[in-house]
Amino acid sequence: MFRRDPLADPAPLIKRVYAYAAYRLGDGPEAEDVTSETFERALRYKKSYDPRKGEPVAWLLGIAKRCIDGSWSTTEYATEGVDSVDATDLEEETIRRLTVTRAVATLDERDRELVALRYGADLTARQIAELLGARTNAVEVALHRALGRLRAVLGEEMDAEPVRKRGASQ
């Protein structure tokens, strides 16, 4: 008779949706807008949530994905502020975070989405496959490739860093 409320404990869901949006669009106001819009839509269409189809987080990420694909331009990744960071003034953790964010921004849209779903929203490969309508195996392979590309980007950045520093000192 009574359905379980999918938004009964919203805080962890907000964090996961935001992390997904931030990995796709960049950490900042656009990710916040997507998160807000996702929750507004979720509240409006709460009746349409079917627990048999999956966890509330998967349902919310489906809404967030549609929000991003429909209204937000994913090609313009919000990298403002990332390049202007002075590494010497920041804590190691912040540097690490910004470096990873910058590396994710260089990936193409498909890879970025997979990384966002897997490591931002913390979904399993199976849940991602259900959400995207793909096979679990295909998702795992695509994720493996995306991580390889990300490693390559991070390696390039590591190689380029001394050159950049040298140029800056001259």
Partner: protein, 137 residues
């Protein structure tokens, strides 16, 4: 990039992606939490009212089907009478006029004075009545 150089050998990208996960501002979390809470509360309130209304209707129907309404009304009448008695205590003591006790122990009724009968049609004025036979001696 000191970090990458330092930990180049044992670099776990997946762990880094998880720990470097962007986090929303606390204001955004509290705002959305409040929004979800308000939405849930208004829906729960209307559901509660509907549930109470439906339950009341079911109870009234069930009572009516077994004559409970008439019973309740007579009970209410009795209650009203009881209240009336309490409010006006003069009605509480009722004297029973005609009872076996009152027949047995009633005060003797005062004798009425018997008026002298008028004699005959022709008698006029006061006539002393003879109470003894005449002395014959």
């Amino acid at each position: 990039m000191r970090y990458w150089r330092k930990r180049h050998e044992a670099f776990d990208l997946e762990a880094e992606l998880r720990t470097s996960r962007p986090e929303p501002a606390p204001e955004l979390i509290s705002r959305l939490e409040a929004r979800a809470r308000d939405h849930g509360r208004s829906r729960a309130g209307s559901l509660r009212v509907a549930f109470v209304g439906a339950l009341t209707a079911v109870m009234v129907l069930a009572l009516a089907s077994v004559g409970g309404v008439g019973y309740a009304s007579s009970a209410a009448e009795d209650a009203a009478v009881s209240v009336k008695r309490v409010v006006s205590p003069s009605d509480v003591i009722s004297v029973i006029d005609r009872s076996s006790a009152s027949d047995q122990y009633k005060k003797p009724a005062k004798k009425k004075k018997v008026k002298a009968k008028k004699k005959g049609k022709g008698a006029k004025g006061k006539v002393k009545a003879r109470i003894r036979p005449p002395f014959t001696g």
